[in-house]
Subunit: 352 residues, 2 copies
Amino acid sequence: MDITLSIDAMGGDHGPHVTVPAALKALAEDDQLNIVLVGLEDAIQAELKAHKSSISPRLRVHHATEVVLMDESPQSALKNKKDSSMRVAINLVKSGEANACVSAGNTGALMATARFVLKTLAGIDRPAIASALPSEDGSTYMLDLGANADCTPEQLLQFAVMGAMLVSCVEHKANPTVGLLNIGSEDIKGNEVVKAAGELLRDSHLNFYGNIEGDDIFKGTVDLVVCDGFVGNVSLKTTEGLAHMMGKFLTQEFKKNWLTKLMALGAMPVLKAFKKRLDPRLYNGASFLGLRGIVVKSHGGADAVAFHHAILVALEEARSGVLRRITEQLEIEHIKPEPHQAISAEAVTETL
Amino acid sequence: MDITLSIDAMGGDHGPHVTVPAALKALAEDDQLNIVLVGLEDAIQAELKAHKSSISPRLRVHHATEVVLMDESPQSALKNKKDSSMRVAINLVKSGEANACVSAGNTGALMATARFVLKTLAGIDRPAIASALPSEDGSTYMLDLGANADCTPEQLLQFAVMGAMLVSCVEHKANPTVGLLNIGSEDIKGNEVVKAAGELLRDSHLNFYGNIEGDDIFKGTVDLVVCDGFVGNVSLKTTEGLAHMMGKFLTQEFKKNWLTKLMALGAMPVLKAFKKRLDPRLYNGASFLGLRGIVVKSHGGADAVAFHHAILVALEEARSGVLRRITEQLEIEHIKPEPHQAISAEAVTETL
């Protein structure tokens, strides 16, 4: 199936130096993929030339005159950068010229722009951020990872529906298990929002496993972990901190003296294999779910390997028809479409 | 300074097999320590005998006829086990016969019993659970780790006051830094409760660092991390899960074939040193803060090394006068004592 992706070529810490080679790699691997690189034409062309490549029927460059800065406020991006590479890449999804968009630009601006341009799906209050994480069992998906600090039980149900359809489509799992992140396995455990969300999930048509606890995320107890964006973000960042500390301690122990350095040399192949299994680049690419279009956010500091993975995430989402599946499941769950309301730029950024 | 600790000798998965040798070790190390072992006298005496030890002026046995089970409900423990080793150990703190109590019994029952017997300090709504965690910089304290799933901003301030005084006393840090766990460093970040708590903390006399994120916990950015019990519990358990997965992956890589097994053998001293640095047994002993008495909770599965560490935590708290310091700081922060209310067993367990 032919898929066209729009890529915000200027986004992220490294811009075209990363986005262009990653796009070229993806094109070389998949002859049914088309890519539109959006951004400053000169910069993109220079990078294409540096890779001995050029535009082709499957690779277009779409000029956009502005760039959203990595520390720019969502408000400023929305108001002042109407011809930014980020916004134009999303516009191409809106107009149907692209099936999905990928950006390593700043999260707040990308979320605000995507919400403003694409709007949310009927029945969805607010979009959520989902990503795959490594687990003992392969991988586990989790949402929301930080878009919504305060959530209602109804929103947690919406997240569950969207996330379950994502896993179902992208991982080709017929009926993925859904776990509600909590502080105990019994139904009566947790805060008020989570207890009410548990009731909604038990009454849903999803494959609800029940409550899970923090340690279940990496055990791979369920296919999808549902939580509010505050808990999701804290929990994810905590693990980043722990992994960093463990890595640092291991390095320190191996560098203690000439004998331990020798041991490190001997164990290097194993340590490398271990590191590769947890390589965060191979989990790069977070899905913005709940929009009327597919948007994938790459880590801002991504290198070409990581950005390439984010492209694959967008490609798989587009190819597997995740939007249609989410819409269908929202209907099954009787999550009713609200009458469509025009949303202003102010309203979008106010709630960020 | 002479300190007497009451020890729930029956608590935990292993009862006297663990609590008795740990107590004997602590007594041997500190000649100003007295211990009362509370529980089934025969079982305790048998264990003492197995260690070629017996009662002495510094080691008493206090018979208690009942044992709270590890999966018993707090309600049942409170109502039906009035002569349990757990309850009697806490009674000794209440009566002043012991300066602090240590138990590896079940958390819910211990918290309910401690609240019912000791009551909360004037100005404190609900007790919180605090513990030290390893960090790149030494150690970081964190609370609440799971006692309170729903918190008000005022409660988060109370946690901060109690936690800061704990760190100040136990770690001998004059003015420990306090961080509010959040999903961004700016004041406007976070959910409504955390934003309001941030304002209270900025107005307090504590050394408030500001918002911190999940990865700051293990970086050691601050001395004390404050969060509600839902976030604290999820975040702590998530790290347990990650550490378990990383350990499993490392083992798998080293066990892959005869060559990697050889490498593991070569690297063993370093791997052991690494493991020791993160040994959870050396962080065992969580403080129940906010009660009119010192209660330290050991992990239920603790071995003698771990339980011994929990004893040291209780000893240090008692010796450093943490209760007095908390009371003083609550006054400085104008956290007003409410008129004392009698609390029923039902009221205690209802809110668990």
